[in-house]
């Protein structure tokens, strides 16, 4: 397996990429520069679906209200 020697050595070299000095400090400075974007708990899937369903129901209700205005205004035969 002579051909694997440079291959394995190369993989080891690629695995040894060093993190630039002060990297963590730069990340933390980036966070402090944008404190308004503090992480918060995400809405659960159920809550997201609930909000979406409620919005759809409100839209449907409004559409029905508009249709009812036209239907009520038509003369009966």
């Amino acid at each position: 397996m002579r051909h694997d020697d440079p291959y394995e050595a190369w993989k080891q070299a690629r695995a040894g990429a060093e993190v630039p000095a002060g990297f963590a400090d730069k990340v933390m400075a980036g966070l402090r520069a944008r404190p308004a974007r503090r992480p918060g708990p995400a809405l659960s899937r159920a809550v997201q679906i609930g909000i979406g369903s409620l919005a759809c129901a409100v839209c449907l209700l409004r559409i029905l209200q508009v249709l009812a205005v036209f239907l009520a205004g038509q003369p009966s035969m």
């Binding site: 051909h3 190369w10 070299a13 993190v19 966070l31 992480p39």
Partner: protein
Amino acid sequence: MSDDLDVIRRVLDGDMEAFRLLVTHYQGPLFCFIHNVIADTHDAEDIAQEVFLAAYRSLGAYDPGRAAFSTWLFTIARNRCRNALRKRRPLVLNELPEAAGGRAPDADLSEAEWFKQLDQALAALPFEQKTAFVLAEVQGLSLEEIVAIEGAPLGTIKSRISRAREKLRSLLRPAAEQP
């Protein structure tokens, strides 16, 4: 894993400095991954920073029941790398460049020259093959972790890794066959 969750809880409770623990713990493997995929130290550092900032902002959306924190981070990193490469180079090279810029593989090449050839070959791999190869062969992640990061079936992941490995090793084969 439970340590990560404790730290994440602290961050979500408003302890921003606790996030530094996550950064220092994962900066090595994350930077290594990005550096190998992007092949530019400066860009890799920028992207790694973006990944941690994005992770901080989205930390509330992280679900420990679905994936390990490291898997979640690598997934963000992979997506960022894809976006960066799309911006940098609209055409993805699907074929390997000629070995050593057109030269035939040579048994007398120095290690540095071999490495240069392999670096070029890695950079020329299709994105999916490159990320799967780096995660498996360079980072040493398990196939299960790679499946979660790449979002592809196990068979597909195995195939991508195998193809990438074969392309890279094919650079070296002619030299090995020489007496």
